[in-house]
């Protein structure tokens, strides 16, 4: 009976404690003002224990501080927070240790505001109130912390020493790593101490701090003591893992030394095991320790704790580094060993990575030609896209606008279309985060349910005597349901160049607004490169919705390429990427942006001599018009130098006038019925000088002035 009553009483008491705990630990509101009131109710609830109410005043104070979040520091008003903390000091039935805690809360509040003297006064009061060893220690620690925060190491150290606090902790806080090292080694070497205490000191040695990168010290320490520590716990070498991954990840001597330690730890995760093994292979190869590498690889090849891809790589290494293999086929070896790897089917990517890993190890070992062989084998496994081809057919008059293109038979011929169906590479997130040069792609990494397959995009190319035309047509297979402001339809990004060593023109067209950006320049104007000029029409674009899709036309004038007109069958490079909310799809298969190696070939067709002459004829008209405009301009190269006051009449008469006279003679020949011979001659001799007239004069001016200042008397 007594037992039953007492057990029931115990149950009731337990329930009360649990309920009380639940009440006080109930989550306060997230909103700081609401939290203030919530804590106030607790703090003023005299039915709660004093300790609980003191804590509540402290939390209320913290909530008051949070109400100031977002303000400038000088506008933050902490008066109400201080008031709450002072209310805690008045809690009637608080025990001395509870009150001491209240004083420490207030002290910490002052310390946060750098009011150190006031803080220390509070801690002194706490020490007065609570003479217990725990209370004294708590107050002393708080005092030391305040001294440290104020930058007074001497006072802080005096407290630590007098109270017997952990000096390693203090020296670590102060960054006195040499002292930390000394103290730790003293403790580690004290054979009278429990092994756990010695291990703790070992693990707090300064070599483990992230700022310290002294490999030699770390290795010496471990070589000396780790054998002892693993006797009681074989996972202790895992302490090396952070240094392995971070500080010394590029030091082969460290990696080769640390790997066996780490591999001996039973709790090394499978991911980390793979990392350690891979790094070990590479390190041993770079150190020229081939026999050690072979031994490590052989062990790894049958280590079931390693992943299949690492075991596969290990087997490849054993094969590749064996003396009898040197002239063997990397591809055959890779295939052969993959087949024998029956228990798990490796993905193509895993096999490729493993083969690359072998190539890397061979290169680190100084075996370049073999490394190249294995690298080639890996590249062949990737099966890159064949280069895409976009034909650009000469037309006597290409469609000049969207309506013209939509009505043109050209776009009925899908054999001449380029399909944007090659997914963009894997670095889109990083690109969008970091490419400050170009915003406005309106792209996002693949997400939600929107897939690139929801639309299809094709591009056609044609040229005529004016220039090169591109027509893009995107058709939505399922029109987007969600509209957020303007319909988000992405953009086209693209590049056009007349040759791999020539500058390329960049474009970015926002869809559906049609806003064009071409401001990313790969060259400025010079003798062999011209800037696009939207106002003068050498770059034009237009975009509009049509039916179930969006149509865009893009034009580049031949003036930009007059000195490198394509021939029939000539190949330029062109790429375009369709950016959407689902990522990107491209014509050429770009793995990254501005990647000429992956651009499509733009093949010109129909550019027989007659058609090329038509282009030249048109260019003559444009060039002479440009020259005449410059010539007429009072501020242009002629008007300026001829000016008796602002210019240089001597230079004008000697250099400018003869050139202008010659160019004017040629200009007179530009009639509508120029003979073919005249066209060829004027194109060859006059067009460059007309179009580059100002640059010609600049060069002459440069020589003139240089000669003046370096003439030999």
């Amino acid at each position: 009976m007594g037992g039953s009553v007492s057990s029931r009483l115990a149950m009731v008491l337990l329930a009360v404690v649990v309920a009380e705990y639940a009440r006080t630990e109930e989550t306060s509101p997230a909103d700081p003002m609401a939290a203030v009131e919530w804590h106030r109710r607790q703090a003023e609830d005299v039915s709660l224990p004093a300790r609980t109410r003191i804590e509540a005043w402290s939390r209320m104070a913290e909530s008051w501080v949070r109400t100031q979040d977002g303000l400038e520091l000088h506008r933050m008003d902490l008066a109400l927070a201080e008031k709450a903390l002072r209310r805690a000091l008045e809690v009637a039935d608080a025990s001395p240790s509870d009150l001491a805690d209240a004083w420490i809360h207030l002290g910490r509040f002052y310390e946060r505001q750098d009011r150190f003297e006031e803080a220390r006064a509070c801690y002194a009061k706490a020490a007065e109130l609570d003479p217990s060893p725990a209370g004294q220690a708590k107050a002393a620690r708080a005092q030391a912390s305040a001294w440290l925060a104020e930058g007074n190491e001497e006072q802080a150290r005096a407290i630590y020493e007098s109270r017997g606090f952990d000096l390693i902790e203090l020296d670590s806080k102060l960054g006195r790593w040499d002292r930390v090292a000394e103290r730790c080694e003293q403790t580690v070497g004290d054979t009278n101490l429990d092994i756990r205490i010695r291990w703790r000191a070992f693990s707090r040695h300064s070599v483990w701090n992230w700022r310290n990168a002294e490999e030699e010290t770390l290795r010496t320490l471990c070589d000396r003591w780790m054998p002892l520590f693993v006797q009681s716990d074989s996972n202790r070498p895992l302490i090396l893992l952070q240094k392995f991954k971070n500080a010394f990840s590029r030091r082969p001597t460290f990696i080769a030394w640390a790997a066996p330690w780490l591999l001996s730890a039973p709790d090394l995760s499978s991911t980390d095991r793979d990392l350690v093994l891979s790094a070990q292979f590479q390190a041993l190869a770079s150190l020229g320790r081939v026999s050690d590498l072979m031994a490590a690889a052989e062990r790894a090849a049958s280590d079931l704790r390693a992943s299949p891809k690492v075991r596969y790589r290990a087997r490849l290494i054993v094969r590749a580094f064996s003396p009898e293999f040197r002239e063997g086929s990397a591809s055959a070896a890779a295939e052969d060993l993959a087949v024998s790897f029956r228990e798990v089917k490796l993905t193509a990517e895993e096999r490729c990575d493993a083969v690359q890993g072998v190539a890397r190890a061979l290169l680190a070992a100084g075996r370049e030609s073999e490394a190249r062989k294995w690298h080639r084998a890996a590249e062949e496994m990737r099966a890159p896209y064949p280069r895409a081809v976009l034909p650009c057919v000469y037309q006597s008059e290409a469609p000049r606008d969207i309506s013209g293109w939509l009505a043109s038979p050209l776009i009925q011929d899908f054999t001449r279309a380029g399909r944007l169906n090659r997914p963009y590479g894997e670095n889109l997130s990083f690109l969008l985060e970091t490419d400050s040069a170009v915003t406005g792609r309106n792209a996002a990494p693949k997400q939600n349910d929107v897939r690139a397959g929801e639309e299809e995009t094709a591009v056609w190319a044609a040229c005529d005597s004016e220039g090169i035309w591109f027509f893009f047509l995107t058709r939505h297979l399922h029109p987007p349901k969600k509209m957020e402001g303007p319909i988000w339809a992405g953009s086209y990004e693209g590049y056009l160049t007349s040759g791999q060593t020539d500058p390329y023109y960049f474009f970015l067209i926002e869809i559906p607004s049609g806003r064009l950006s071409s401001s990313f320049r790969t060259s400025y104007r010079h003798r062999t490169h011209r800037l696009v000029d939207v106002e003068r029409g050498t770059l034009r674009t237009d975009t509009r919705r049509c039916g179930d899709g969006i149509a865009t036309v893009l034009f580049y004038g031949w003036e930009l390429f007059y000195d490198r007109l394509p021939t029939d069958g000539g190949e330029w490079l062109f790429e375009t990427i369709r950016w959407t909310a689902a990522g990107g799809v491209s014509l050429g298969g770009s793995r990254s942006v501005h990647n000429p190696s992956h651009w499509a070939s733009l093949i010109f067709q129909g550019l027989n001599e007659e058609n090329r002459r038509a282009i030249r004829r048109r260019l003559i008209q444009k060039a002479v018009a440009s020259y005449r405009e410059m010539r007429r301009d009072p501020g242009g190269p002629v008007g300026w130098w001829a000016d008796w006051d602002l210019g240089d009449p001597v230079f004008y008469n000697k250099a400018v006038r003869p050139l202008v006279e010659r160019l004017d003679v040629w200009a007179e020949e530009t009639v509508s019925d120029m003979s073919d011979e005249t066209v060829e001659r004027l194109f060859r001799e006059a067009v460059p000088r007309w179009l580059e007239f100002d640059l010609e004069l600049s060069t002459l001016r440069e020589y003139y002035l240089k000669e003046m200042w370096t003439e030999i008397p």
């Binding site: 501080v65 949070r66 100031q68 400038e72 520091l73 505001q113 750098d114 690359q356 190539a359 290169l363 190249r372 690298h375 670095n427 990083f430 690109l431 985060e433 970091t434 490419d435 400050s436 040069a437 915003t439 791999q500 060593t501 500058p503 390329y504 401001s519 990313f520 320049r521 790969t522 060259s523 400025y524 490169h529 800037l531 501005h594 990647n595 000429p596 190696s597 501020g635 006051d645 602002l646 001597v650 230079f651 000697k654 250099a655 640059l695 600049s698 060069t699 002459l700 001016r701 440069e702 020589y703 003139y704 002035l705 240089k706 000669e707 003046m708 200042w709 370096t710 003439e711 008397p713």
Partner: protein
């Protein structure tokens, strides 16, 4: 203007020289070796088979430079036969009255053509392809071996056991790393003998350093090309020292506003006592990096911060204002408001920065950065931090996008903007507020090997668009392998070795960019003085100079001609000053 008529008469000679196809030989030169004087800073990518159509066959190499200035010049050689061990040297240069410019002041180097990624010469993006491009300026052309069969670059390590070449152009997946700071890898200090392959063009480069105290006038000397055949060719070298020094650059829109010149990431990643540290810093300063970011953090050991400051002062970098480094990060990357504790930690840190700045430099005009390309909400919530920075007299820095204007246009002091150097509309509102140094970055970043492009972007284009700073991303210390990165190529302007830097064409272009701004600054300063003179002729002269400069189109003008025209106006204005007393 002295010499105008005779110069004009000679112009006809220039024109005919420009168009003639046979070379002009100096006495004793065998016809099998030709040379052309070519523009040093040119968009022309000079390869083994690039005929120097823009050069003067057999022309004298001519340099026109101010006192204290570094100025480049270039020429191209071609031999019709294989010639090994060809030696080039420069004689002392002398004036008619005997004043001498020592040959030590002339650094002669080979322009090395090597493989870079498929975007070489044009952009900073990565590409797995490889093409040949001229880039490196080497004293020892064999420091880098280029294998045209395997399309690979190799670096020579001079190990105690003998030279060894390592492959430094491996694909990214293969690259095993090459640490140029620790490997026994360094260029020679003077030009070593070169090899001329039959029929191939080889470009040579001179950088002339004019002493500040050099007597103005024309100096003559020659470049001696000699070899074992026997071979002895003398290429005339003419150096005109101008009668003035260049001032530090100032902004185009406000001559009272210093123009800051720095590059992100330029502090060398080696210990203070590394043998390469001082040579690198000297090189940066010589290439017109005027304000070097010390890249410090407040929790660095004090001796490290003090050591960096001492080097900044010793090497002659500008120290007012001074780029100190970075504030410690606090808070979230979004608009989550900053807390009391976070701001208190910032205040403590800014107090410490101010104390350091005062102690090390004697003022509080230290620039501290926080964040990079942050969103609008973050910018707004960070204002309390910038206020704390300003309360200590320090300056705030943040690189990023256009929305900074409407969120922090009143608080950002140093703003590298993700815009193009031609974006005049971007600079106007910032300059209207008036306290911000603004530069472009990213369009383009560094990495382009074309020196003319680098010159224009970092020079007059941005200057005339009213930017007040150059602070592009970045000055990367390698790697030497152009293929190791995925999205961007290494943005290298000069390549590190264990003893310093190997210069490049682009790096010379950078220096000339800032020199262009310094010339323009001098022109404007003299023009302003002329405007204040009260003399109508001088006033008109000043206005003419300013008018001419205002009409220069930074995007299209021939910068070589612009430079010379600036010099002409400067000489005219100086003459006016002297005559006016």
């Amino acid at each position: 203007m002295g010499g105008t008529v005779s110069a004009a008469l000679r112009l006809g000679t220039w024109l005919s020289l420009f168009f003639r196809s046979d070379p002009l030989w100096v006495q004793g030169a065998p016809p099998s070796l030709e040379w052309w004087e070519v523009p040093a800073l040119s968009d022309v990518r000079r390869m083994f088979d690039t005929v120097p159509w823009d050069g003067i066959p057999g022309g004298a190499v001519r340099v026109i430079a101010a006192q204290g200035e570094y100025e480049p010049a270039s020429f191209v050689l071609r031999s019709d036969r294989m010639r090994e061990n060809v030696r080039l040297s420069v004689s002392d240069l002398t004036q008619e009255d005997g004043h001498r410019l020592s040959a030590d002041r002339i650094d002669l180097r080979v322009v090395k053509v090597w493989y870079q990624n498929g975007n070489a010469w044009h952009s900073y993006f990565a590409d797995p392809g490889s093409i040949l491009v001229p880039e490196l300026l080497l004293h020892d052309e064999n420091l880098i071996r280029v294998d045209r069969e395997s399309r690979a670059n190799y670096a020579r390590l001079d190990e105690p056991s003998g030279p060894r070449y390592v492959w430094i152009s491996a694909p990214r997946e293969l690259d095993t790393g090459f640490d140029p700071f620790t490997a026994p890898f360094a260029d020679a200090s003077t030009l070593q003998p070169v090899t001329l392959l039959p029929g191939e063009f080889k470009q040579l480069w001179l950088t002339v350093q004019i002493p500040p105290e050099a007597k103005p006038g024309l100096y003559r000397g020659e470049i001696v090309v000699s070899g074992d055949d026997p071979l002895r060719v003398l290429i005339p070298l003419l150096v005109r020292v101008l009668p003035f020094e260049l001032p530090l650059p100032r902004s185009y829109f406000d001559l009272d506003r210093p123009f800051l010149v720095t590059l992100m990431g330029a502090w060398p990643p080696v210990p203070l006592d590394h043998p390469a540290m001082r040579p690198i810093l000297r090189n940066l300063r010589a290439h017109n990096v005027l304000h070097l970011d010390m890249a410090c953090r407040v929790n660095m050991p004090e001796e490290e911060i003090a050591g960096r400051a001492a080097l900044v002062k010793e090497m002659g970098f500008e120290t007012r204002p001074v780029f100190l480094g970075w504030l410690s990060w606090v808070g979230a990357h979004d608009g989550t408001p900053l807390t009391f504790d976070e701001l208190m930690s910032v205040r403590r840190e800014t107090v410490r920065w101010r104390q350091l700045c005062e102690r090390l430099f004697g003022h509080t005009e230290g620039i501290v950065g926080l964040g990079d390309e942050q969103g609008a909400a973050w910018v707004a919530k960070t204002r309390p931090i910038w206020r704390l920075v300003h309360e200590q007299g320090l300056r705030s820095e943040l690189a990023g996008h256009r929305h900074y204007l409407v969120k922090a246009g009143h608080m950002l002091d140093v703003y590298p903007a993700a815009v193009s150097p031609s974006d005049l509309l971007e600079t106007r509102p910032w300059n209207a507020v008036g306290h911000t140094w603004m530069s472009f970055y990213a369009n383009q970043h560094t990495g382009v090997e074309n020196p003319a492009f680098v010159r224009r972007q970092h020079g007059l284009l941005g200057y005339l668009s009213d930017f007040s700073m150059v602070n592009n991303y970045e000055f990367a210390y390698g790697p030497w392998n152009d293929w190791v990165q995925d999205l961007y190529k290494p943005m290298v302007l000069a390549y590190p070795t264990c003893q310093g830097l190997v210069d490049t064409l682009a790096w010379e272009g950078f220096r000339e960019a800032i020199d262009d701004i310094r010339y323009a600054t001098l022109l404007k300063t003299l023009a302003q003085a002329a405007l204040r003179s009260g003399d109508l002729d001088r006033i008109y002269a000043g206005r003419k100079a300013l008018l001419w400069l205002a009409l220069v189109n930074g995007a299209t003008a021939d910068l070589n001609a612009v430079r010379l025209e600036m010099i002409r106006y400067i000489l005219l204005l100086r003459k006016g000053l002297e005559n006016g007393g």
